[in-house]
């Protein structure tokens, strides 16, 4: 009897364990995602995009995807990021440089088949400026007549009415012609037309679905790709748009863009063959750059980005230009790029990076500790005596922290002054910076278009990105003059004079180095990843050499 119960009990136990094990296996097998078809190319694209609506996007990873889905009147040449014809095949510019007439291509249609017309262009630009759209980058359209007035809800002094969208200087002459009136001659307007904010978006979908229009299907696109799906924190999959006007030149059928936050993870995915391209600088571990630089799959290149220190002009002792110069003169920038960043960055003495055609930046303050000590003594702090302990604000990141530690030592060693590190998370960093709640702060700026103005207008008195409290009427004048000037040589001279003020005579900043772009891909496997000044990487020229081509994919279907 006892024997029977024991074996029964044993059977019970076994059954229980078996059930439990089956349950685990079932969860394990069904709960995980399912394997997607491998895309032609898998790209580590950077942080998760906040939006794919080109009017809304601000970040670079977001912009790369939005740019693949929606095109503007011009688009970027993938090799050099210069504007080339996009949805518009040609344009006329008036004598005074203030009126642009764009002629749309005759054959352009949405991915769903309806024609793209001049009305779509007018709609898209008015929408970008509409206060209800709430676009961060609406400022890119302020160069258009009444763009700013409409966006900021100004009242027309002549009529006493508020500016409405019809006042904006863009109109459809006929279904294929758009006329644009500008506030003044804007030498970089064609560059702006290739920028996401001015891309052409589908009125039919947006008016029907509101903010969630990107999640609805079908979702008409005007660019080379359609959106297959967008799973947040997993992947964005885009498919070639066969109705795109230049579809014949799209070199691939299906692309996955993967978000990632950790650089080591991105590198692991690349090395294990799960990803083909890493093209976001944030996804390349800078600590390893000295080793990676020598590898055949790592490609570095110059681009428009500057790393610099801002001084808070509204606080003592940084209101004294001698103090700012002194602090700037002791920065051993070579040490920073060689020891910390280690990707081959060029050291910077000016704000505007090299490579802008027709513009050479002035030489700013170099490395001269002797001179620095003299200036500091003149300012009343001989040998750093009496100089208050000040803070250096930066956002959490290994690299920023390392730069900060080096700066701290340089200032202590050469000038005998004490800097305190203030590391904060991103939002606190931003709000402290814009409220001028700091003494000195780590800063950087990435150019939006290939023109010095994208760097220099930031330090005009009223600009929201100034963030130093620096006000120099002469500087403001020069920048304004430059943007009214049509002769490129004269304009470059005026901008040069302005930058001299900014980095040499009355500097509110101390430039450290120019960023270097890094792309990771195997040139034997992938081609069409071009390196350019704007770090723009259109998807359509990408081609996987060993994989299937668009033609093969079509045949397979």
């Amino acid at each position: 009897m006892a024997f029977v119960t024991a074996s029964l009990k044993q059977a019970n136990w076994i059954r229980r364990w078996a059930v439990a094990a089956c349950a685990v296996l079932a969860i394990w097998a069904t709960g995980c995602g399912h394997k997607e078809e491998r895309a032609d190319l898998v790209i580590m694209n950077g942080a998760e995009p906040e939006s794919l609506d080109p009017t809304i996007v601000t970040g670079q990873p977001d912009g790369r995807v939005a740019g693949a889905l929606f095109e503007g009147l011009t688009r970027f040449n993938p090799k050099n990021a210069k504007p080339i014809p996009g949805l518009a095949e040609r344009w006329d510019i008036s004598e005074d440089g203030q009126t642009y007439t764009f002629h749309l291509r005759p054959n352009i249609v949405w991915s769903t088949g309806e024609p793209i017309t001049a009305d779509d262009v007018v709609y898209s630009w008015r929408r970008a400026l509409d206060p209800l759209t709430a676009s961060d980058y609406a400022g890119q359209l302020y160069y258009i007549k009444n763009g700013e007035n409409f966006n900021t809800g100004k009242t027309n002094a002549a009529t006493g009415n508020r500016y409405v969208k019809e006042d904006v200087g863009v109109e459809a002459i006929d279904p294929r012609t758009v006329k644009v009136l500008l506030e003044g001659p804007t030498p970089f307007f064609l560059d702006l037309c290739a920028f996401r904010t001015l891309a052409i978006v589908p009125r039919q979908a947006i008016e029907k679905h509101g903010d969630r229009w990107l999640m609805e299907r079908p979702m008409p696109t005007s660019g080379p790709y359609t959106l297959e799906f967008w799973r947040i924190h997993d992947r964005i999959r885009v498919r070639k748009n066969p109705r795109y006007w230049d579809a014949a030149n799209i070199q691939n059928e299906l692309i996955d863009l993967l978000p990632a936050e950790s650089a080591n993870t991105a590198l692991n995915l690349y090395l294990s063959g799960e990803a083909d391209v890493i093209w976001d600088k944030n996804l390349v571990p800078s600590e390893l750059m000295d080793v990676l630089k020598g590898r055949p799959y790592v490609h570095t290149y110059d681009y428009l980005g500057t790393y610099f220190v801002r001084f808070n002009i509204t606080r003592k002792p940084f209101d004294d230009v001698r103090v700012r110069k002194a602090l700037s003169l002791v920065l051993d920038k070579k040490r920073i790029v060689e020891r910390i960043t280690r990707s081959g960055e060029k050291i910077a003495t000016c704000l505007t990076p090299p490579g802008m055609e027709g513009y050479t930046s002035p030489e700013g303050l170099g490395y001269d500790p002797e001179q620095a000590r003299k200036l500091l003594a003149e300012a009343g702090y001989p040998g750093g005596k009496g100089f208050p302990t000040f803070n250096y604000l930066f956002n959490t990141s290994e690299m920023h922290k390392q730069v900060a530690v080096e700066l701290q030592e340089m200032w202590k060693k050469e000038l005998g002054i004490n800097m305190e590190l203030r590391q904060t998370e991103w939002k606190v960093y931003l709000s402290s910076q814009s409220q001028l709640d700091y003494d000195t702060t780590r800063s950087s700026w990435i150019g939006d278009y290939v023109d010095p103005n994208t760097f220099l207008d930031m330090f005009m008195s009223g600009n929201g990105n100034n963030r130093t409290g620096w006000k120099n009427p002469k500087y403001d004048d020069l920048i304004r003059q430059a943007n009214q000037e049509r002769d490129p040589v004269k304009r470059a001279k005026i901008l040069y004079d302005a930058e001299v003020l900014l980095v040499r005579e009355d500097p509110p900043i101390a430039p450290l180095f120019f960023y270097i772009g890094v792309n990771i891909f195997d040139p034997a496997k992938v081609e069409g990843v071009h390196q350019n000044l704007l770090d723009e990487h259109p998807l359509w020229p990408l081609k996987r050499k060993d994989g299937r081509t668009a033609a093969k994919a079509a045949a397979a279907k």
């Binding site: 080591n264 590198l267 692991n268 571990p285 080793v291 959490t396 922290k401 080096e406 590391q423 904060t424």
Partner: protein, 312 residues
């Protein structure tokens, strides 16, 4: 048989537990080292001590990423700072964080749970729902708000009252408050559960019928029976608050550079775990120090529990 007080008996029992004694020695020596460390770089000591012991934790040098050598026993980091001295100065922060977490969960957590469990009824419900509410608010939100909004205010006030030297420890203070605030919740739940099962046991009823007061029952009869689980849970709390601090450092909310903690050193060193190149000393030394110390604390805790547990 000579007569011994309970404490003496406990001590005797403790001494027989070899791992616990070794751990006590280890923790003691480490603590002494950590306390004396700042003195080593003073000229008077620097001349007689080996050079590897005399580096400053915050001063950089040209010896970037030096592997362990006779000058730098534990190697150096990207700024050429000596890793051994960073581990030693980081110990202060980590050990303090551990102590604060342990104390808060010991005092607040145990009392809260014991009272809720013992009193029962409406009070139990209210007290435990309060714990539920705190538990439901992610501590990360809480810590961010605490550090970002109150730090600047407190800093200004402290600078005024106590001088700038004290004010720079402000972040640490808030770190302690933030960590303390979340470290007692699980302890309260566990203790309450234990007290619930104990309060209706025979021996409690017996002492109640003998006229013992509530305080006496709680502290003399119930809590001693829970002491084992309390000690174990504290030995679990210490590593988890130390690691929590490192997580906060990783988010930029922990200890401010250039100062270090074990957690922040490990967080920095974690980047070394990659297939391209490994500066192993940046991750191995801090991790091994942390793990050994926690192990020692743990065996020490076990020894204490065995020595003092009345059921042992």
């Amino acid at each position: 048989m000579e007569s011994l007080s309970p404490n003496q008996r406990a001590w005797r029992r403790f001494k027989q537990n070899r791992p616990a004694v070794v751990s006590l020695w280890f923790v003691g020596v480490l603590g002494l080292f950590v306390l004396l460390w700042p003195l080593f770089s003073r000229p008077a000591f620097a001349n007689i001590l080996p050079i590897g012991l005399t580096h400053s934790a915050v001063k950089g040098s040209d010896a970037q990423y030096s592997p362990p050598t006779l000058t730098h026993w534990f190697g150096t980091d990207i700024h050429g700072r000596d890793q051994l001295s960073r581990i030693m100065s980081g110990a202060r922060v980590s050990i303090l964080v551990g102590i604060v977490g342990a104390l808060v969960s010991l005092v607040i957590g145990v009392l809260w749970g014991a009272i809720a469990g013992y009193v029962g009824g409406w009070w139990d419900g209210a007290m435990m729902r309060f714990v539920d509410i705190l538990y439901s608010l992610p501590s990360i939100v809480f810590v961010i708000v605490l550090i970002t909004t109150l730090e600047e205010l407190a800093k200004g006030w402290l600078t005024q009252k106590l001088g700038a030297n004290v004010a720079q420890y402000c972040r640490m203070l808030f770190l302690f408050v933030g960590i303390g605030a979340v470290s007692w919740l699980t302890m309260a739940r566990i203790v309450r559960g234990q007290v619930l099962t104990l309060k209706n046991r025979n021996f409690v009823d017996a002492s109640r019928s003998l006229g013992a007061g509530h305080t006496r029952i709680l502290f003399r009869h119930i809590l001693p029976n829970v002491i084992g689980i309390i000690i174990v849970y504290i030995t679990l709390t210490v590593p988890s608050v130390i690691l929590y601090e490192s997580f906060l450092s990783y988010l930029g909310l922990g200890i401010q550079p250039p100062f270090a903690s074990w957690g922040s050193l490990i967080a920095e060193g974690a980047g070394q775990l990659n297939p391209v190149r490994v500066y192993w000393w940046l991750i191995v030394y801090p991790a091994v120090t942390l793990v050994t110390t926690l192990l020692a604390l743990n065996f020490f805790g076990d020894g204490l529990r065995d020595a003092f547990d009345p059921r042992g």
